[in-house]
Each structure stands twice: as C-alpha cells, then as structure tokens.
Subunit: 390 residues, 4 copies
C-alpha cells in the first residue's frame, strides 16, 4: 500500500499551464500531484486572464512573481532561475497541447499533458522524437487508470484467469450535452469546434479513456480493423460527433465494441468495461470503482473489493485507503502523478533499467490514443466502413 512515504529523492518543482479558477480540471491535477509531497507547485500560467491567473496562483501558494501571463513567459522566467520548474502540466484546450508541450520540451522541461494528447499521429511522433532527443518524460493524464482494480484486471487477464479474450465491451456515455449549445460555457464550445478540439469531440474527450484502459488490461491484443459510426445529434456540432459507436476486430480474433456519447440523457454510469474470455469475464465501472465483477461461467458471480487480501499483488501495491474505505478519482490521479514522478526521477538519475519496466501513461499512451482517433475518423468519414488499423 501507498502511505505517503516519498518514493522519489525529493519533491519535483512543478508548474501548471492552464487549470485556473474557471474550471475544475486543474484541481484534479493538483489533487494528484500535491497529496504525497512528490511535487511542489512553484510556478504557473494558470489563466488566459493574467490578473485572475496571478491572484489564483497566489492563493494556491505560488509566489506572485512566478505566476506568469503566458506559457512563453513561464518558460522564459523559469529557465532563467536556478530553482526553475522541472516539470510542467498542460491543462489547456486541445489545440494548444502540441505547441506548449513542444516549447516545454525544447526548454528542457518534462511535461504532463491532458488527453487527447495532440491532433495527429504525426505531431505525436514528432514530440516523441523530441522527448527522446531531450531525454525528457511526457506523461498523459488518463484519469481513472490509476485505480487499483484496473491493475487487478490487467493481472487477471495476464495470468489467464479469463482464458482467451473473446469480447471487449466498453462505454463512456453521459447526457450533459443533450441540449443544444446555445449559451453553452466556453468549455463546451471549444470542444465542438474542429479548430480547437481537433477532428473529434466525444471520441477524443472520453473515448481515449476507454481505449487506454483497454490497452492496459489487454496488453497482448491489437486492433486489426475497426468501423466507426459517428453522428452529431445537435447539428451545430457537425462535423464533430456527440455520439459514436466503434466496432473492433482484434488480432486474436476477439470482437470489440465501444460507445461514447454526450447525449445519453440522464446516464450517470460513466465508464463501463467488460472483458470476456473463454472461461470468465470481468466488469468494472468508475462509477462504483471499488468493486470488480468476476464471473466464471457456471459458478456464482463474484464481487471483489479493492484492498482485500485476495487481490493480486499488483493491485494491493497501489491501494491507498484500504478495504472498506472508498477510493475515488482523486486517488487514481495520485497514482498517475506518482508514477510519472517516478519516471522523471529515474530519468534524472539516469536509471534507464527502471524505466524499461516502469508502467505509467507515457508518450506512447498518448500517441496510441491519437492513432485510435485517426482510425475512427477515417472510418467514419468514409461512411462508417471497415478500415485496417494503421
């Protein structure tokens, strides 16, 4: 179990771009980073409104002089200091991820970026190359994949407890965009505009969570071809989609389906996963994350609870609160930020052996998410036809 003892040498000096007072996303980053003393928030360009951003930063405990108006200022100001930030989190709209990440890397800073990472695979590969060249870490915040039961699932699949994987069923649907967008807040508007959101709305916004979690659990499976059918029920969102269904064929013969929607009126179920094997299935949802359904065909259904001794070591190792004590999204973010910190620490120490086996949502996790989106869009725009996964 994790108990707050530092797992790295010293706290990392950390800055944020975005994540200011007008939204709640930045707080998830801070919840993840600050709990265990692994990061120390020392700088930020929190807000497009520089004055509001400075006031906000100061109330977070950042020195006024290190609350910058823009990310460019942050990089310039910090790199001039002896105690400069080492790692920067990017919690801004999608269309700025690429340029901010590139600028930070070029300035020698590690980066932690929101998903979907960038607009294209090409951009992602450039950044991957740049990070490698600069010997820097890029982490991606797939929020709920730090939960202990996600890693329970991965280990169960790996150990063959399900048999051969046959069916993958994933959904992340809600109804918060069931109405039209007249008078919608900025956070909705930029997500439905291709210039600021990229080539997708819900596929990128929530579908990438599903895809990355499935990559963790199904480490050996690859998609061979897919078909994506997407639609904007609110016409003003077109060509982006507020609803999409994807069918997948995997390289082992498994079949998958994925559903994302922001017009699923009233649905509060959040992310739901079901992995079916020849012997057994597992099902998990982040709406009740502390329980995992494990169904062996012909036996009573089993409900497993986080933190219980019967779980796999891989799950117990990343538990924080213990059995009966509900873990939430914040606990998952704490793990993700911790794992990224460990990667950065290893990079600093030149410990490439550690990095070889250390699991965290890295640049490849971000890149593969973008690749998934590109394939979906290619299929959808060709009329919801099957395309080879490239």
């Amino acid at each position: 179990m994790i108990n707050g003892e530092r797992l790295i040498e010293r706290p990392l000096r950390w800055g944020m771009v975005g994540g200011g007072r007008t939204g709640q996303v930045g707080y998830k980053h801070r919840t993840g980073a600050l709990r265990d003393g692994t990061y120390s928030l020392v700088a930020g360009a929190f807000d497009l409104d520089a004055e509001r951003g400075r006031d906000f930063g100061v109330r977070l405990g950042v020195e006024a002089g290190r609350c910058y108006a823009t990310y460019q200022d942050l990089i310039a100001g910090e790199t001039a200091r002896d105690d400069a930030v080492e790692v920067v989190s990017v919690a801004t709209p999608n269309f700025t991820h690429y340029e901010i990440t590139r600028a930070c890397l070029e300035a020698g800073l590690h980066v932690i970026c929101e998903k979907p990472l960038f607009f294209t695979v090409a951009e992602s590969e450039q950044i991957k190359e740049l990070a490698e060249h600069k010997n820097l870490i890029v982490g991606v915040t797939y929020g709920f994949t730090g939960h202990p039961l996600v890693h329970q699932m991965a280990t169960m699949v790996k150990k063959g407890m399900l048999g051969d994987i046959r069916i993958v069923d994933m959904a992340y649907t809600h109804g918060f965009n069931s109405g039209d967008d007249v008078g919608a807040p900025e956070a909705v508007k930029w997500r439905t505009n291709p210039k600021t959101a990229g080539s997708t709305f819900v596929l990128g916004d929530i579908g990438t969570h599903l895809y990355y979690l499935s990559e963790i659990v199904l480490a050996d499976l690859k998609i061979e071809k897919l078909l994506c059918d997407r639609k904007a029920f609110i016409p003003s969102r077109a060509p982006l989609e507020d609803h999409a269904t994807v069918l997948m064929h995997y390289n082992n013969g498994a079949r998958g389906r994925l559903w994302v929607s922001s017009v699923d009126a009233g649905n509060m179920g959040s992310q739901r996963y079901r992995f079916v094997g020849s012997k057994a299935s597992i099902a998990w949802s982040d709406s009740h994350p502390d329980q995992l359904v494990y169904q062996v065909q012909g036996e009573p259904e089993r409900i497993m609870h986080h933190g219980m001794p019967y779980l796999e070591d891989e799950s117990l190792a990343v538990d924080r609160m213990g059995a009966l004590h509900t873990e939430g999204l914040g606990d998952s973010w704490s793990n993700i930020y911790l794992w990224i910190a460990q990667a950065i620490d290893a990079k600093r120490r030149g410990d490439e052996a550690f990095l070889k086996t250390h699991h965290y949502p890295d640049i490849n996790a971000g890149l593969e998410g973008v690749r998934f989106l590109e394939n979906c869009v290619r299929s959808a725009d060709a009329g919801a036809v099957w395309v080879d996964f490239e």
Copy 2:
C-alpha cells in the same frame, strides 16, 4: 389489474405440439395458458418418443386417447371430433415451425408458435396469407413482452416523455455456450445446425426478443439500414454465429445497436434495453423486471416499480400481482397467452373491430422478426457491411 376473471366467453380447447418432458420450454407455455382458465389443455403430440409423450400428457391431465404420436395424428384425430382443439401451440425446433403451422391452419386451427417463427420472410408471408384466408389467428410467444413495465415504456415513448428518440441500445447475452458443443444436449445441437435452426443461432434464438420488444416501445420507428457483424467463437457452430453485433440507423435519424451472445461467460444479466431521447432515457432488464429506470437529463434518476399508481394506465391494466409483489417470466407469458386468447375469441365472434386495436404478438410480429434476421444475415454474409433494410 388482472385477477383471473375470464375475459373471453369460455376456455379455449388447446393442444400442444412439442413441449414435452425433456425440456422446460413447454412448461412456460402451460404456465402462460392454464393459470386463468382461459385455455383448457385437451390434446397434445408432446414428444418425438410417442410413448414418453403419452405418459407425459396423461400426467398433465390430457386423456390418453388425445395424446398423439405426431402432429399429423393430432390434426387427424382432433378434426374428427366434435370437441376438437381450437388452437395449437408449436414448441418444437425451428425447422418444423413452418410445416406444423401450415398444417394446423389448413385444418382450421389457430396457432401459437415459438420464435423465431420461420426460416424466411417468404414462408412467413405465405402463412400470413393462409391465416387471413382461413380467418385464423397466429400468435408468437415473445416471452417477456407481456410484462407491465414493457407497456409502461411504450406509453412513455408514445406520450413524448423522452422527447425525440435518439439512441437504442439492446443486449441479450449469456455464457451458457462458452464451452464447445462436444457432448452437448440435443437442445443445443439443433440450434447450431443450419438445417434445423435456419440461418442464425443467437440472432434468432435471443435476438428476436430484443427486436420485437423494440418494435413495441418504438412503434413509430423503422430501421432504414443496418450492419451485422457475427462470429462463431466455437468453430463447429459456423456458419451460424454464437456472437453478433448489429448497428442500426432508424428513419428518424436515431442510432441503434444490438448485441447477442451465448459466449458472454458468466453474464446473468439477460435482456437489457436502453431507449434514449432528447429529454430523457428509460432502461429495463428482464433480470430485475419489476423496476424501470427513468432518467430525465439534469434531474435525479428515478426508479419506477411495477404496480404503483404513478404508472401509466396501460401498464397498470396488465399488472397481476400488485406493487411489492415480484412478477416474473410466468406472469408475462400469462399476459401473452391471454392476449392471444382474446384475439382468437374475437375472431370466433367475428369482432374485427376489436382486432383492429387489440395488441398481441401476431403473425406480423413473427414476420418482422424473420425479416430482421434476413437483413442481419445479408449484411453479415457480405462482410459485415451496411445494407438497406428490406
């Protein structure tokens, strides 16, 4: 509420073909038919093993002389009597439905048949014509569509409580065929053989339930095109499928998906339905049939319970046990058999006005199920491509 008072003039003289001792399907028919005194079981050809069938029939209270070896004998024997059966239920493997139904109709008997009704639309249309010509009823036993909350859903949609329908999500999956079929019982074997099962396995066996229920709830929607991806995870079942996914586009722009599987290891969820509109959604499953989830976007989720005064009249009218008193599959079958009896009674009385508005799973319900299957197979066999719904 229904309380057992006879809603038709007198009990119908009823016979069964199939439904003998070696399976449990026949008991569902008898549960449906006998509870309220609407039918009187007077004859049967219950079993391929004539001796066993006679013994069984006698223990059901049928005279030995009216327990026949074959359906042909039954028709011959009964039509020679003054008190002949009036209606015959067909609870035999799929490949015999057509010939038995035709023979009964030709002999002037009403028919109640298991689903999937026949192998082809062409057969279904012939039977429809024959039944019309003979002035006889053909009912189809879509087992769970008699439940009061199914009719609650239909009324809510009709009244516009969901707004415009946007998304239809349906699944009926289980894992009872996760293992291979070596040594499987006859009831499994004939279902996976095209000669005895027709062109589908799970699509016909359980998918037709989903499709018919959606027709009830979404009375105004029609499928314009669909795509079906099917697979036999147990190769010996090919070309039939033990797993299939169908995507649908409806005439009002709605999107649908349907999943059927008999290799969904450990899944005990049975049928699950979700209908999403622009304002609200409803969700129902026959595994907990007495509750209906009603979710208005932006309001607390609501759980409705069968038999409660806040439900629509259409639902309360067909309730049998009352609130807090769980209704099960048997109660639903009782309603279906009752509604078919009312249709037969009206036919006998020549009351075509009644028949015009009376709802029950009729020959069209059967025919449309077969049409759905034909479209699925056409799509699947062309490589899981989109096909216009014909």
Copy 3:
C-alpha cells in the same frame, strides 16, 4: 424442476371463502392453485356482497349454483353433494379465520388459511387438535417461502456452510401507511382495528412472514427471549402498531433483530433477510428474489442465481422457470399450494410416512407465528421489556 406434471393422483376439488373482486389477495391463491392442474376451483363464497360474489365466481368458471352467499352456505351446499369441495381456502380478514377454519374442519374439509392464522395460541391449539382428530390438513399461505432460494438458504445452513449462526437480521418495511387513515379503504381499516385484526397490525400482517421464513432457514434455533418495541405513528391505529422492532436471543447464543413497518416512507425493498454465521453470511430479499448473496469472510462476495446447477438439489427440485428466467411471487405461491396439495393427497391416501418428512407450511407454522406475536405483544405492552419466549 417442476414442469406441471401432476404430482398427485387427481386434481383436488377446491373452494374459496373471500378473495373476491375488490382485492387482489384471492388472485394470489388462484395463481398458486390453478397453474398446474392440481386444484380445480368448483365452489366459493367470494364476497360479503353475495350478488357480486356470484357474478365474480361465474367469471372464474365456477357454476352459479356453487357460488354461495356465505361460508356457512358453502359448507351446507357442498357437503350435500357427491362431488363436494375437499379443501377450502380462507382469504378473509383475520378475525374470521378461526370460525371459518373450525367450521370447515368440522364439516370434514381441509383448510388453507391466510396468515396470521388466528388471534391466539389457544385458538391455534384447538384447531390443531381438531384437525388431528378429523385427520385433516391445515395449510398456511406464507407467500414467498416457496421460492427455490429460500430452500437453498435452508440447505446451506443445515450443511454448515455458514458455520455457527450468530446473527439474524430481518426486515419487512414499506411506507404505504405513512399517511393517516382518513378515507382509507376497508382493507386498511380492518387491519388497524383490534376487533378485526387481533392484537397486532404490522407484526401480524408482515412480521409473520419474516418469522416463518427464519424458522425454515434456522431449523435448529429457538428464541429464548425477546424484546418488542412497537408504536403507532398514526395515533388512530393505537393500541395496534404501524412500526415495531424486535430483539431476539436464540438458544445457541445467536442474536436477532426484526423490523416491521408500514410507515417506512418510500421503501420498496420488501422482505430482507441476512443470516450470519461464524464463517459466512447469506442475504436474500423478495424484491430481487432470484439472487442470493453468499459472503464467505475473506473471499470475494458471491451472487448465486436461481436455477443454476451449482445450487443445492433442494433448491433445484422446486425451481420452475430455469436460470435466467425470473421467478416471482406467483411461482412461490404455486409451490406452496403444490406442497399443501401433496399433504392433502397423502392424507387421503393414508400415507403418514410421506407426511412425516414432507415440508409445507402447516398448522404448526401458523401456530408458531401466532406464538411469536403473543410474545411480542406481551413484551411491548409491558414497556418493551425482555420476556422469556413461551
């Protein structure tokens, strides 16, 4: 599994007192009795309004001449016939149970009576003696104790799968009487009047269900002392209660608690049971009766489903619909009526050996329910103090 094959020689000639059109309780009796051809409804005194009762009976298929105005008329009329009723069900308000049961027994008729059986243990013992003297059966309709999973629980406890029983937790609460009784229907009014209901309201009306089910599951346990705290939240119901809590000490050291209420606003959970042993617990509710929670300390929780091969033989033997096919209250009533029919049949055949091991809700089940009520009332009326169970 049960499939409708007759388990007794021939259908029993059956009559009803009460259970007419104005309530739904009679339909539960008919659902239980008529489904399998075990009983044949031939006579009735269905209603205090003789005309309405006759019309109702005829619509149930009873000859007009055997629809009687009173139970006295029924006894007189029937006993004069060669084909007289053999068994009579009593579905009338509590205060008439004793006199009708006594009269039927004296006339040589078996009786099936609603719970709570009578007002006092003394009455119950008189009837028990009379039934023995007359060699007749008295059955009591504890509605949900016919469910297959109730008998799964009993067998699990008997086999020691829970270890030593330590804790018994039972509740049956609803909120249908949360408001006052002004303008309440007759069915509510007689239940809150000591003259017609006896010495309790909710304890007798719903608490006896809990108590009898616990007797089935905990065959070896006896209450040594109890404490009952009862209250009428609607004052007009006093001295009867609309809410009561009972604490129990069992002879093996186990502790129990029982809660009944009709003012538990909005509660739709119906009956809930939890039996805790030194090794494991089981939990069941009739609101989702087809699943049983089985919790071994230190292992994942298990959900068992009715009809599945992993269940005990005792449970599978009384299953009717099969796994995945929801069984409801009606299926449970069918089992209870069947078991009583088997007892009557054995009595008719003089098969006392069968009766020695045959389980059904008999006169003792009714008598013990009344004894439980008497002890509760004695405790409550003395100020909610501990009393030895007598």
Copy 4:
C-alpha cells in the same frame, strides 16, 4: 466547489503523534491535511519505535531533528522553536488520547484527535474546559462526515423535505473479526482490551461514526432513552463487545436503531444510514457514497448524485471532484481537515463570529460520542435495559 485555493491565511504548521508506518490510519490524516496546502507537516512522533519513526518522518519530508521519540519530546522540542508546530494530530490507541491531548493543549497547541475521543464524559469535559481556557481548538476526525451528500441530507432534513422524522436506522458492520484473535496484530489486540480501548470495542470503534453523522443530519433531535444489547461472540473479547444493537427513543417521538458488528462475516457494506420522515426517506452508505436515495412515498424512487446542480448549495459548496467523478474517503477527510483549519485560523485571528456558525467536528462532537458510549455501556451492563439518556 473546492478547488485548492487557500481558504485560510497561510498553511498551519502541523505535527503528528502516531500514524506511523505500521498502520494506514496516519495516511488518512495526511491525505486530509496535505492536499490543499492548508497544513504543512513539520514535526512528528510517529512511532513507539523512535528509530523507525524518524526514518518514516524523514521520508514524509520532515526534518530529522523534528522527528521525535515521544509526544513529550515533541512538545518540548517544538515549543522551544520560533517556528513551532501550531496543531498536532493524535492518531494513537484510544487510551493515550486524553493524556496527549491535555499535554498539547497545555503547551498551547491545537489538537486534532481520533475517535472515540476519550474514555469518559468527565475527561471530555475537562478537556473542553481546558481548550476554552487556552483558547484552542480540538477537532475530532469522524472520517466520512465531510462527504458532500452528508450535508445534502442535513439540509434536506432541515428544510422539511422528509416531513417529521419518525425512524432512524443505522448500521456499520463488517466481518474482519469473525475469527478469534489468536495471532491478531497489535491494532486488533489493543482494541479488545479495556485498558487500551476503554469500555467498548465496536461501539466506540465504529459506532461513534454512526452517532456523529446522525447528529449532523438530525440536528434538532435528541435521544431520550436507549437500550443497548451487546455481546462478544469471541469470548476473549469480553467484557468488550464485537456486536451490539442499540434502540433509541428520540425527544420528538422518533424511533431509532443502530447496529455495529465486527463479526458480520463477509459484509462489505460499511456504514448504512436511513432516515425516514412522514413524507419521505433518504438513505446513504459510504460504500457507494456518491449517490443518495431519496424516496417520497407514492413517487418513483430518486437517486441523487454528488456534484449535480439539483443538489442543495450546502452540498455543492463542499464538492471537490464534480459530478460523475467519484469522491472517496480521502475527499471527505480533506473537508474535515479543511474545516478544522478554518476553525484554527479563525481562533488565531480572534474571529469568534466566524466560529459561532462554522461547522466542524469539534470538542462537543467528541464529547457527545463519548456520552453516547457511556449510555450504551450503562444499559448493556444492566442487562440490556432501557436507560434515560444522560
């Protein structure tokens, strides 16, 4: 919503007594305190093993010189510094709470203490007096009462949405002590020894959580009398209990029951609450804390979710993650630590007006918990009889 912006002037200098590496309780304190930069961990006496405690503290980021061997050393060492700790958390076995709290207060330090606060009401009143005299805050860590939906419940009751409160039903049961204590870890052993645990085991250990939460929700109700029946199913735990049932009569006529157990084999339900009024009920459990069941008699059940706009302002104000984003125990602890910090900050600023209306688990919350235990023990030890609540 809370987003990490500092709600007090500057971080409080914070120390811990107990909460070391061998248990997980200290991590809950640190999770609560460190997330938002409200506290700064600067000192500790973390462990009875001084060496281990120092190593642990250093890995938490505390200077080695401020990792003390004992709480006495901590007080001595810190009070000699200009930058001394201002507030100390006590996360040690029950029997040391009193002496450590007293010593800290006498040294001028605010205290945050685990529950149950002390052994007796008398001790609690002494400490209350001392804290008032010293003008210091004593906070008590009732872990889950910081959750937004707890405050939703309190507001709903206060606004009369339930009508008059009639029934209170509370339980906190688990089975982790179902086996005997041979070879049990120290954390179990001291809890079952009266010298180290006080006069109760489960009543104090988990029952005080139930009681305090009920005080928040039912601000206007007082217990008038209660009856407590307790038992040690594992005899070595006697005279302390591993199972107890309490019945309560409230001053407004309401009836309550409370169940605590550590031998409820397999139960993973954690804390469960149900508050029933004349019009409606609410139910909540910390095992699925983000949803609240709201049942108006005669209407569909409602499920409310945390963070949704339809909730009361009092709930939304203390939400941290937003709707769909699961909040867990850690989020609740963060709120409790924040509220205590605000109290300490107000005390420092001399802002007594703020303190008059500011809600947090204060010395009275601790004292009332002890009072509840004293009444329970008095009843239980007199033979589980009714006692007036004193």
